[in-house]
């Protein structure tokens, strides 16, 4: 993405229109002081006609200065009309720039959102979610503001300067020099100030962030704080942070106070210079009263935009950085084009659930350590329940991620019903593999919506069938709003076990021929665990169960024990149980775990 092809670039007609309207507004705005001058000098005080042909032309058009003097409503009408043109043009400038910016911002947000869903899992795992969120929200906003407001400010300042200087020069060249002398100073001072003050702004923001972090940690750990009666120390910590925030923010405010003070001084001195020098010229007869008034009014009209421009240019850097950060996200390759993954895959074969791993190797991108999977081979028939056992980090989850094509193998292949899965379209494949993640993620919506996520057309009966199988129906019914209960911050907080069961129901409702449960029953009590497993059996899907519970694993058809990315044991659990621990490395691993867990159970009983 570059600026031209970005949504903002594509809105150029609106921004061009807004710029045109801004210039028109500036021109019409200058008509008012000039009309006032003509009325004062020429009409009311009988002095020389002003040096602007359009003014004298207008007066001649209606019948000369005498007619105008008798009909003062005429110049009044002209002033109001000029203001109306100014106002109308400003309105359209504001409207078009807002439309352009908001339309572009919307498109940019949509593009970002879609892209975040299209990039690989690896992208998400290596990015910090807070940073990503900031790019999608505040960075977009920085650019939006720049186009909606700040660009117009620059346009206005330039247009005003471009119109004001010729007008002033026509009236009195030497006074013009006086009138312009401090403008560059005002501009430069503002620019410098807002560049320098960034660190103070950042410090204040950071102090605020730290304060929030302390507060959040305190609230999350509140029970622990209470349990150890640590309130005084926590109070001290919070007070220190609160104090720091106040101090740092006050430093910023003091800087701002200095800026506004100096800036006010520049403005007032500039106006004073025009007034005093102008008075001298007027007394000498070189300048009319009306012309002096024009100078004063123009000066006021100029000072503000010039200062604003300094501020905008100081902010330009921020907009540039924001744009680059967003482009970085949008330029990340989507899953189907990611060089670290196999190609898109186009086939949509019928999938029943026969799965073969053929010497599958895998290393995580950017990882320098040993490979995550070192030649995994096994094969299971349709409807098999496969147990997977292994220590944390042994490669269990990785294996299952490959099966869903969240990653693709770096060596070997995985076949489903005889098809190499890298030839199958990712979305098609995932529709047939229901994957319950280790840490289930529920969306901030109702429980019903969460369950029917993957099948929005699911009927109530299907939802309850799934929740009954996942042993969570009764729990949901016990909530005041039942299935309509909202999940998350604004609603009910589900326990770990409840979350897991809702996620299981969500997977069951897909009716997929392949199911993966990545330690999805860990927070569920043993009784419910057994209940859910027997419900799963009835479905006849090829099921993978990752678990640490020996009793759970013992009920599977086929058990795979992996260690450091290698299968060390595989077979029906009953067979594995008969192997003696302590033979070859890995042999009897399951038997040992079984003994350990049952040993805990029986040690004290005996």
């Amino acid at each position: 993405m570059n600026l031209k092809t970005s949504p903002f670039g594509r809105e150029w007609p609106r921004f061009a229109g807004a710029t045109g309207a801004t210039i028109l507004a500036a021109v019409a705005g200058f008509a008012v002081p000039l009309l006032v001058q003509a009325v004062l000098d020429w009409i009311l005080m009988d002095q020389a006609a002003p040096p602007f042909r359009w003014v004298t032309g207008l007066v001649t058009l209606v019948g000369g200065p005498e007619v105008v003097r008798r009909n003062l409503w005429l110049p009044a009408l002209a002033i109001i009309l000029a203001t109306a043109v100014n106002g109308g043009a400003s309105y359209f400038a504001g409207r078009w720039s807002a439309e352009g910016a908001e339309r572009a911002a919307r498109r940019l947000r949509d593009e970002l959102y879609a892209h975040l869903h299209a990039v690989s899992v690896a992208f998400h795992q290596r990015s910090s979610s807070g940073d990503l969120l900031q790019r999608c929200t505040s960075d977009v906003d920085t650019i939006r503001k720049f186009f909606a407001i700040q660009l117009m400010e620059v346009g206005r300042a330039l247009a005003m300067t471009a119109v004001a200087i010729p007008v002033m020069l026509t009236l009195h060249p030497r006074l013009t020099a006086v009138a312009l002398v401090l403008l560059p100073v005002a501009f430069w001072y503002t620019l410098r100030f807002f560049q320098d003050v960034q660190t103070a702004f950042t410090a204040s923001d950071e102090a605020e962030g730290e304060l929030s972090a302390v507060l959040q940690e305190h609230l999350n750990g509140l029970r622990v704080v209470r349990a150890f009666a640590r309130e005084p120390e926590q109070m001290e910590q919070f007070t220190a942070q609160n104090e720091k925030h106040r101090r740092v923010t006050m430093v910023l405010l003091r800087l701002l106070a200095r800026y506004w003070s100096v800036s006010t001084l520049i403005v007032v001195v500039q106006l004073g210079a025009v007034l005093v020098v102008g008075t001298i010229f007027a007394v000498r007869g070189e300048l009319s009263i009306g012309a002096l008034l024009v100078f004063l009014m123009l000066e006021q009209m100029l000072l503000w935009p010039i200062r604003q421009m300094g501020m905008v240019l100081a902010d330009l850097g921020k907009a540039k950085v924001a744009f680059r950060r967003i482009a970085e996200v949008l330029n990340a390759p989507v899953e189907d084009d990611d060089p670290l993954l196999a190609g898109a895959g186009t086939e949509r074969p019928e999938i029943t659930g026969r799965i073969t791993f053929e010497d599958v190797w895998f290393s995580y991108p950017d990882s320098t350590g040993p490979a995550a999977l070192n030649g995994i081979s096994f094969s299971v028939e349709v409807g098999t329940t496969v147990g997977i056992l292994g220590a944390t980090g042994s490669g269990k989850t990785t294996m299952m991620m490959l099966l869903s094509r969240l990653y693709d193998p770096t060596g070997g292949r995985i076949l489903i019903d005889g098809h190499d899965i890298t030839t199958i379209e990712r979305r098609w494949l995932r529709r047939h593999v229901a994957f319950v993640l280790q840490e289930p993620f529920l969306f901030a919506r109702t429980i019903r919506d969460n369950i029917s996520l993957a099948r929005s057309a699911a009927r109530d009966a299907e939802v309850t069938a799934a929740t009954r199988s996942a042993a969570v129906h009764d729990v949901i019914e016990s909530f005041t709003h039942g299935y309509e209960t909202a999940v998350g911050e604004r609603g009910v907080t589900l326990s770990g076990g409840q979350k897991q069961r809702v996620a299981i129901a969500r997977a069951l409702i897909t009716g997929s021929p392949i199911m993966v449960f990545d330690d999805s029953l860990s927070a569920v009590d043993t009784r419910t665990d057994a209940q859910i497993r027997s419900a799963l059996l009835e479905r006849g899907a090829t099921t993978f169960l990752i678990s640490h519970r020996a009793t759970t694993l013992a009920r599977t058809d086929y058990l795979i024990v992996i260690e450091e990315g290698r299968i060390v044991e595989a077979g029906p659990p009953q067979v594995l149980l008969t192997r003696l621990p302590g033979g070859d490395p890995g042999t009897g691993f399951f038997a040992r775990i079984w003994d350990l867990q049952q040993g805990v159970a029986n040690a004290d009983a005996s």
Partner: protein
């Protein structure tokens, strides 16, 4: 849930809330007075500048003499210097007030949270409390401090301009001032609209942020569920609404300026026409007209500011209501004044006065419910001797957690008494009770800081040797030494950066260091591999040595070696005894036991 009211916009301005809140900020009375004086002077000074223009015209240009021009220069210079100084002063004072108000309300809020009961936190989401103490208080500070500045300035300037006009020429002044009422009305109308539109933009904006955040956190889930297209559809609807609302807000703002400009130009033409008509008769001088034109240009700004502040105050009212609501929430559990006198308060405990408990726990005819009509415990009786270990077994909702909550006096019984060493908990200091309890949670909660800090969280005066002894006691020493910096290993927010099992062991060491007489364990059921789990089991057993202990058991593996197992169902003890007794009895426990072996 009384506190969960969402962003409501109260239409009517309610003085009471503001007064109630600002009463807490009495210390700023002096600052307010100084600010008011500054702003009055600033407003009046602003009104003087057009007057100087008029004087320049009449005194010098019209007379054609530069005599006394130095007076004008001096007057101008003095005004300029005064204005610059006053602007500096006002920002410093307003800033002091803004940051001071935020500081004050955050301190008060945080202090108040320390006194609220656990029940309050069980009902109130963390995010809700966060918003009160961060954004709402920020809003309050900004609105009050800068609103005060702007409104006093606006009023002062309007008054000064009106007075200056009347002094210059009463007749002309009356004519020109007829523009003010429509200007005020239009300003109020538009400011209200603009604010309303901005509010919906803000709301949509936070929805968009939430969607992004969810999209990022749930990216893998969306992929596995093949939800990308539907998610995007929903998101596009949202951004579409945002676009419409944002353009609407911008259009209101774009419309307001022309209206103000137009009304201002009407004022200018009135000054010009009416002034011009009176010029010949000599009732008005050119200088007066010049000054009046200056005023008509200047007038709309204070009107706009006053209108803006009034509407902003109205919309900040909901923030004020929520802050007042939080600060005025009464704690459900309060120590009596006598107890506070003797043992100190939550924030100023007198630890030296605290006796050491023996560890006897008694439930004496205790009844309890969280919500009316849904009893959790009814006439519950239990006596646990010092040093005895008790396991609570039962389904979710059977009352296990409640019993533990009552021992910690996180809640109080509706009827009956809970006693430690024969003393009714109602008459004990909460901090003392908590200090006698070792509490290990299902999900270990650690804090940002080193491993050592986290263990010493239990007792800030603990020596290095004590910390290490505690770690050794729970078999965490090797694990800690294996971390890159050992005891100095820095943990992230909430203890992030190490595994759940490691966190658990550190939280055990922390509990051991506190050396409590009563030990409560809400047993973990998280995903931990067998080796780690064995270690944890071992640690738990060494912690229970010689202490009265309560275990909320989710798996039965932990409970076999306790002195007594209580099987609970709907708040009643249905079985009680040792593992062997119950397993052999053929009741509910043996059924559960069999299931766990299946």
């Amino acid at each position: 849930m009384p506190t969960l009211r969402d962003q409501q916009f109260t239409q009517r301005f309610d003085y009471c809330i503001w007064i109630r809140l600002l009463k807490r900020a009495r210390e700023f009375r002096g600052t307010v007075i100084i600010l008011a004086i500054i702003m009055l002077v600033v407003g009046a000074t602003d009104a003087l500048f057009p007057l100087l223009n008029g004087i320049a015209v009449d005194r010098y240009i019209q007379t054609g003499s530069l005599d006394g021009l130095t007076h004008l220069i001096i007057a101008y210079a003095v005004l300029a210097a005064a204005q610059a100084f006053l602007v500096w002063l006002l920002i410093v004072y307003a800033g002091r007030m803004e940051t001071g108000l935020m500081y004050l309300f955050r301190q008060e809020g945080f202090t108040h949270l320390q006194h609220l009961s656990i029940g309050y936190f069980d009902r109130t989401p963390v995010g809700w409390l966060m918003s009160r103490l961060t954004s709402d208080i920020q809003r309050l500070g900004e609105t009050v401090a800068w609103g005060l500045v702007d409104i006093i300035w606006g009023m002062a300037m309007m008054l000064a301009v009106a007075v200056a006009m009347v002094i210059l020429n009463p007749g002309l002044a009356l004519l020109v001032l007829t523009v003010v009422p429509p200007l005020a009305l239009a300003s109020y109308y538009f400011q209200k609209r603009i604010l309303g539109a901005h509010r919906s933009v803000r709301r949509l904006n936070s929805e968009i942020s939430a969607s992004f955040s969810e999209g990022i956190a749930g990216a893998v889930t969306s992929k596995t569920l093949v939800r990308e297209a539907e998610n995007l559809q929903e998101f596009t609807d949202l951004t579409g609404r945002m676009r419409t609302a944002a353009i609407r807000a911008a259009v209101f703002s774009a419309l307001y300026m022309p209206v103000v400009l137009l009304l201002g130009s009407v004022g200018t033409t009135i000054a010009l026409m009416a002034g011009g008509a009176r010029l010949e008769s000599g009732a008005v001088t050119v200088g007066v007209i010049v000054a009046f034109i200056g005023y008509t240009v200047q007038f709309f700004e204070p009107v706009r500011e006053v209108a803006r502040v009034l509407t902003e105050l109205q919309s900040a009212q909901s923030a004020a209501e929520r802050i007042a609501g939080l600060l005025e929430t009464e704690p459900e559990i309060v120590d009596s004044p006598e107890v506070v006198e003797r043992f100190g308060s939550v924030l100023e405990p007198r630890r030296e006065e605290w006796p050491r408990a023996q560890g006897e726990v008694v439930f004496d005819h205790v009844s309890f419910h969280y919500h009316d009509g849904q009893p959790v415990l009814h006439d519950f009786n239990l006596t646990v001797a010092p040093g005895e270990s008790v396991a609570l077994v039962g389904e979710t909702g059977s009352g296990k957690s409640t019993i533990v909550n009552l021992i910690g006096r996180f809640y109080e019984p509706v009827e009956g008494r809970v006693l430690i060493d024969g003393a009714d908990l109602r008459g004990c200091s909460q901090s003392w009770i908590h200090s006698q309890l070792g509490y290990v949670l299902q999900t270990p909660q650690l804090f940002r800081g080193t491993v050592r800090d986290n263990i010493a969280f239990a007792r800030s005066d603990a020596t290095e040797a004590e910390v290490i002894a505690a770690a050794r006691m729970v078999d965490a020493y090797e694990m800690i030494m294996a971390l890159s910096a050992g005891y100095d290993h820095e943990l992230g927010e909430g203890g992030s950066g190490i595994s759940t099992g490691q966190k658990q062991l550190i939280s055990f060491a922390r509990a051991v260091l506190a050396d409590p007489r009563i030990f409560i364990l809400d047993e973990a059921t998280s995903s931990i591999d067998t080796e780690t789990e064995l270690r944890i089991q071992h640690a738990i057993r060494s912690m229970m040595e010689g202490r009265t202990s309560f275990i909320i058991a989710h798996r039965l593996s932990t409970v076999r070696h306790v002195n007594r197992i209580l099987v609970l169902e709907q708040g009643q003890v249905i079985e009680s005894g040792t593992h062997q007794e119950l397993a052999a009895a053929g009741g509910r426990y043996s059924e559960l036991h069999r299931e766990s072996m299946r």
